[in-house]
Subunit: 129 residues, 2 copies
């Protein structure tokens, strides 16, 4: 796998974009008893990193410090799916308005994403194995 | 990207392990105007395939034929996230009860998943870029 990027360079192939998740994104979130809220963020990235990885890590930490934050889960192949969990719509609204997060949203539209969709959801019930 | 496997052959590189999702999983789902329902399935796999890939593909096709099905999005790194969208709780309940799907759920607990969590959600609103 280490060889692939150099071959990609020689043959002018698209850069290999697989990026391992941060440690904080590895687990299934231990959310409280429903109801609570979920924000499903589905996206298609542009090529290259261009500051995306650092900002994603920063946003992960920043979100985790927000009041009402319950957890996050994330994975990416052709599309990326990040689901964050919150106690209330108010908490989601407050997170969306955080200035550093607003900058990330702006960069997202300018350079990191081809397209994305955000869905605000009420988690009515859940079960696990 | 099409060139990578043949280059790997010529240079005797390890087989390129990237596995494209099925066509049905590549896109951001074009869901109708909210409200509608989402099922967030977050999972951690066991090692090996053991029939998982074939069953996942079969379930993708089977779900797509169900009444009330609106789309699916899926990605996996350390954790897997599959979000399916539905018109109603009734449609979700019917899908869960399909006999071939019940068998898949049973195999899932027996051999494919270390753990998973299912969240049934009402999508209250969405927006996109």
């Amino acid at each position: 796998m280490d060889v692939a990027p150099s071959l990609a360079f020689v043959f002018n192939l698209p850069k290999f974009e697989y990026q391992p998740c941060k440690t904080t994104l590895l687990m299934i979130s231990q959310t409280p008893q429903a109801p609570y809220y979920a924000v499903i963020f589905t996206s298609i990235r542009t090529a290259g990193d261009d500051g995306y990885g650092d900002m994603a890590a920063e946003m992960g930490k920043l979100a985790a410090g927000q009041e009402g934050y319950l957890g996050v889960e994330s994975a990416r192949n052709e599309i990326g799916i990040t689901v964050s969990y919150w106690t209330s719509l108010e908490a989601i609204k407050n997170w969306k308005a955080v200035s550093r997060h607003r900058l990330a949203q702006q960069y997202g539209q300018q350079k990191w994403y081809q397209s994305y969709k955000v869905r605000i959801c009420l988690v009515e019930r859940d079960y696990e194995f």
